[in-house]
Symmetry: C2
Subunit: 360 residues, 2 copies
Amino acid sequence: MRKFYFTPGPSQLYYTVEEHMKNALKENVPSISHRSKDYEKIHQHAVEAIRSLLGIPDDYHIFFTSSATEIWERIIQNTVEAESFHLINGAFSRRFFEIAENYKINAMSRVVEEGKVVEAEALLIPETAELIAITQNETSTGASQPVQDIAKIRKAFPDQLIALDVVSSAPYADIDYSMVDTAYFSVQKCFGLPAGLGVWIVNNRCFQKAQKLMDKDRIIGSYHSLPSLLEKAVKNQTPETPNVLGVYLLGKVATDMADKGIDQIRRETDYKAAVLYQAFDQSEILRPFVDNEAHRSKTTLVADASVSSKEIISKLSEKAFVIGSGYGKFKDKHIRIANFPTHSKEHIEILADKLLKINN
Amino acid sequence: MRKFYFTPGPSQLYYTVEEHMKNALKENVPSISHRSKDYEKIHQHAVEAIRSLLGIPDDYHIFFTSSATEIWERIIQNTVEAESFHLINGAFSRRFFEIAENYKINAMSRVVEEGKVVEAEALLIPETAELIAITQNETSTGASQPVQDIAKIRKAFPDQLIALDVVSSAPYADIDYSMVDTAYFSVQKCFGLPAGLGVWIVNNRCFQKAQKLMDKDRIIGSYHSLPSLLEKAVKNQTPETPNVLGVYLLGKVATDMADKGIDQIRRETDYKAAVLYQAFDQSEILRPFVDNEAHRSKTTLVADASVSSKEIISKLSEKAFVIGSGYGKFKDKHIRIANFPTHSKEHIEILADKLLKINN
């Protein structure tokens, strides 16, 4: 049975991926050397497509890693000497904090309970913090930091580096990337690609910081340190043999999305999110987990269930619709539904209908 | 034009990969959650297939990373406090040494010129060295350390950890893995898979060393530290969202290879290598770069050309046969030819014939 995946990553492949994969095989993409002109073209195309789709400023660098998890580690290694500060409101924002601790960084935090976001106005951060880590969309809870908050935090803390996690919101979230110093995502969420690739956006302030750490004889990593990544990126290459097929597919899908139009994708995402949240409201067994409407994610929607979420998931699964369970301690309490660009209005409408029928 | 890749990685896909990829899409492999039972089955299957094909002892762990380059870094982070020792005979053995230096390790080495291997009998290593890094097959030069040397080095240095690079020789090389503490490879070489996955084999002595480093308050990394990898591996999972499609394909291809028979693969590899080396000998413009026959790689064959290698590569390319250029300073001097399990006897015979015709 062909299933439809509404899981919050990995998820349903973007609808053009299968065709691109066939073409990749025809064009021998997995066999070409990562030091060849053919690869350089693929690399350059992917970087340009991402830059254009997301509106990344020209002087920001775009690097490929193996995952967003890796990028957490590389950010700590390359830009933090002693202190980082993390806005924590769920498992993934906490994971970045823990990676800083693994690197013996004095990781500080403002923690709010799951389902909420840290109030930007009330944020107090020690002057000594070198980096502020913000998770724009916390995949584990469906709580989303309003994009306007980023400019507020930038204004209040001009000296700190700001790292923005857009793992499960790019390219939907309309971010002014010039307001942050680094941002990152992985491709198995909104981009609808096979997992195994992270995208790391970095400005020159991060490079200056890495240089400062090197001058102090600090370890900043090796093949994926910022200087090592840049040395190869200027040639449209990577230090190691990368996930060439992943880079190829990312360039193709980002171009497909640009052709469809980012505004259109955002409008459709808003519409589909409204359909699902309406179903949560109408359902007798579901309610949105995030109380504050302004903080409800449009890409990863989480509902609290008054029955075991396992039961809901299982009933939908019989109809070939796969949705996510709650994360961590909410495993049996929550359902999580991805509303990514590949999910059509029709499929979301059917899913909303099915959710309501479970009710009766 | 459909091309045939004899490049030393990435190379021609293993001949069953395309079919497995089609099945993966049918089975929704790229969409399943990396925390699901479906993924755990895929993971377990790949680990068991690799263990069986390579004859990895039961008490050795098998982990997935993004590349062999990453594994160099993780070995240094997790098993070396102060001193490592590297047998260097080319660009890749040197790269591991450099990564140790990036981590402020006192990296020592025995360097021999390209095309040679370090004599195991003459090896002098300070007692203080914690790790001995051996590159079984140096992809950049086609020089191969005889597998018998590994037991000799093990016997001479029982207290050191031994790390064995089998990036471009596994599964061909008939290694007794119980003689080493850790070994590693990437899948785009002999396994004929799309790049973006490394396989890390680790014994319990490495874990004890990582624990010792932790007890000393040393940084051993984060999501891909040995303890973090093991915590998830016992559940057939990975700390991050992995390259799920890559893990799936690896399990399938390792099983295909086992079905064909590892002995058969080794016999064919020997035969095909003999055909190519004979062509080098008969050619008026080529000679094997590695002088000592016993050190000539059977999987990555390198020839010194008396004409520009660019010309040879270009002429073969017109006939849809893609071979590799020399590495680094040998770029225009050498040709490098992969002799991997996917390369059929027929194709190698045609390639040898074409090489000889360039002569005339």
